[in-house]
């Protein structure tokens, strides 16, 4: 297996399940654990693997939770393009994701908070007043059906197959 093919397999498995250990991956790929460890270290060092998150459905917990997708139009700055304003935006802890977009607006900003008021205040007090921000449109998420490739809150289906079949 070529190194890029090997790395791609590691990434494919880890993208679905970041809890797999180097030992697990070594068994799955049929190679020494050391090779997996080296590959993952290298992928992290190069920033290919940026982090390991846990996907949580906060709606099933005691904690209040809201999230919103904010369409932001900005004035790009000479010599800096959109990067400088994006940096100003993603610095806030409330901001979970920022994407530069094609189309009718410039930045998608995903914000999370405990209450609608908290998110609204963040937009009015922190985001809108930024110099380069021309306008914002805030869309609150009502229900998450699928996130990061995982279907949320669907009933768990058991294995419906026969126990033994030819």
């Amino acid at each position: 297996m070529t190194e890029s093919g090997f790395n791609e397999k590691i990434l494919t498995f880890l993208e679905k399940n970041s809890r797999l250990t180097p030992a697990d991956l070594a068994d799955m790929l049929g190679c020494p654990e050391e090779r997996v460890r080296d590959a993952v270290d290298d992928l992290r060092r190069r920033g290919v693997i940026c982090g390991f998150n846990t996907l949580i459905n906060w709606d099933l917990t005691e904690r209040d939770y809201v999230s919103a997708l904010i369409e932001v139009k900005v004035a790009p700055q000479r010599g800096q393009g959109f990067d400088s304003i994006a940096e100003r935006v993603y610095g806030f802890d409330e901001v979970k994701a920022v994407y530069l977009m094609s189309g009718g607006f410039d930045l998608t900003v995903i914000v999370e908070g405990r209450t609608i008021k908290e998110v609204a205040l963040f937009v009015s007090d922190k985001l809108s007043p930024l110099d380069s921000v021309l306008s914002t449109a805030t869309h609150f998420v009502l229900k998450k059906y699928k996130d990061h490739g995982i279907i949320i809150g669907s009933e768990v289906h058991g294995d419906e197959r026969l126990i033994v079949s030819p």
């Binding site: 397999k9 494919t12 498995f13 697990d24 068994d27 799955m28 790929l29 049929g30 294995d159 197959r161 026969l162 126990i163 033994v164 079949s165 030819p166």
Partner: protein
């Protein structure tokens, strides 16, 4: 009195079925016993079927199957396996690969004709040959040969009454595959003889070796006398849709279509529409499933080796076929005791032919977590016997 013929009365139930009846009554059992994928049919395929139901496409199709589906099958066979079949004359859509096996045997067997097949193998060859009036001639494949069919073994079984040979690679239950070189040796035995080759390649998309799957029909001298049987169940996780196909010589396909026409009429239309989408739009989904199976295959085999059972490395399908000879138990006893004492269901190798004695079939069409739990239970069970 019974109206049932003595032939059917003496036809045994499949060994799998007998075992299943026991296993199904129990609770808390982890199964490694299934012969079908754990993945769901990809959503684009299911969605396509729903769409066609909404569009009221619920009537019979032509006997041979929807022409657009036959065209897709023809294109798939060409693109994936470099095999050329005319959609109009050389492709028949069947109710699963199993119907195609039954059809071809009924189409070619005259009373007393012999059909050679290699064991351990899928459970329906022997009964289908018998039902068609033929004489089943099983030959052995051995662990030391990596469960490949040896050309000498085949040659020794051929008689003037030999009508057909059934090849089934990648193999259920062993997971064995045959390389092009292996197949060329078989072709050497068959090329100057009037023997039909029935190549059951239902697991062709699930091959994990360096070389992609090769069909014996890829060998020019054999192409014209080979019927390739394939289907959607394993590759696209579509077992319940009951959709398969056969590709081969036009006169044979025509004969099979005649029987199919009277016995079945046509494969389920909704499944056929779904099949078109599967062939067109599932390349990536199949690659993803193959990647997962490949990883599970390694985990399972390593598990058996680590607990001291010898296990030949399977390069196809989704089964490991470890040897349990070192336990000193017979295969039936091993499986029964593992089920009752260890709470793991595996299938006795003897369900796939007498030479399966000493082996058990373990499917890795399960999540890695389930496989690991099952392996742990098997290891604990081994410690107790």
């Amino acid at each position: 009195m019974s109206f049932v013929t003595p032939k059917i009365q003496s036809l045994p139930y499949s060994g799998i079925r007998r075992f299943f009846d026991v296993a199904n009554e129990m609770t808390g059992v982890i199964s490694l016993g299934v012969g079908e994928p754990d993945f769901l049919t990809p959503w684009n395929v299911r969605e396509e079927a729903i769409f066609h139901l909404e569009k009221r496409r619920t009537v019979y199709s032509s006997n041979a199957g929807l022409l657009p589906l036959r065209r897709e099958i023809s294109s798939f066979m060409s693109r994936r396996y470099n095999l050329t079949y005319s959609p109009e004359e050389q492709v028949l859509v069947t109710v699963g690969g199993s119907e195609a096996i039954d059809l071809v045997l009924r189409a070619v067997i005259e009373p007393g004709d012999e059909v050679i097949y290699h064991e351990p193998c899928y459970v329906s060859y022997m009964p289908c040959v018998t039902l068609a009036g033929g004489v089943p001639v099983p030959v052995e494949t051995k662990e030391e040969d990596c469960f490949r069919l040896a050309p000498e073994t085949l040659e020794a079984a051929i008689t003037p009454r030999t009508k057909a040979v059934i090849l089934s690679f990648p193999n259920n239950p062993t997971g064995a595959v045959m390389s092009r070189e292996d197949l060329e040796k078989i072709a050497g035995v068959l090329k100057d003889r009037d023997i039909l080759v029935i190549s059951d390649e239902i697991y062709s998309e699930l091959a994990y070796g360096r070389e992609p799957h090769v069909s014996i029909a890829n060998i020019p001298e054999i192409y014209g006398k080979t019927l390739v049987i394939n289907g959607f169940s394993k590759a696209f996780a579509m077992t319940g849709w009951r959709l398969g196909y056969a590709c081969g010589p036009a006169d044979l396909i025509a004969a099979m279509t005649k029987i199919h026409q009277y016995a079945i009429m046509c494969a389920p239309t909704t499944s056929q529409y779904a099949g078109i989408e599967a062939l067109r739009g599932c390349g990536r989904a199949v690659a993803e499933m193959r990647l997962q199976y490949d990883a599970r295959r390694r985990v399972m085999r390593k598990g058996f080796l680590d607990m001291g059972l010898s296990c030949f490395e399977p390069f196809g399908a989704f089964y490991c076929f470890p040897s349990i000879k070192s336990t000193g138990l017979s295969t039936e006893d091993f499986c029964r005791r593992l089920l009752f004492e260890g709470k793991v269901a595996v299938v006795p190798g003897t369900a796939f032919g007498a030479c399966g004695e000493g082996f058990v079939r373990c499917s890795y069409a399960y999540s890695i977590d389930s496989i690991k739990t099952a392996l742990k239970r098997i290891e604990e069970f081994l410690g107790k016997i």
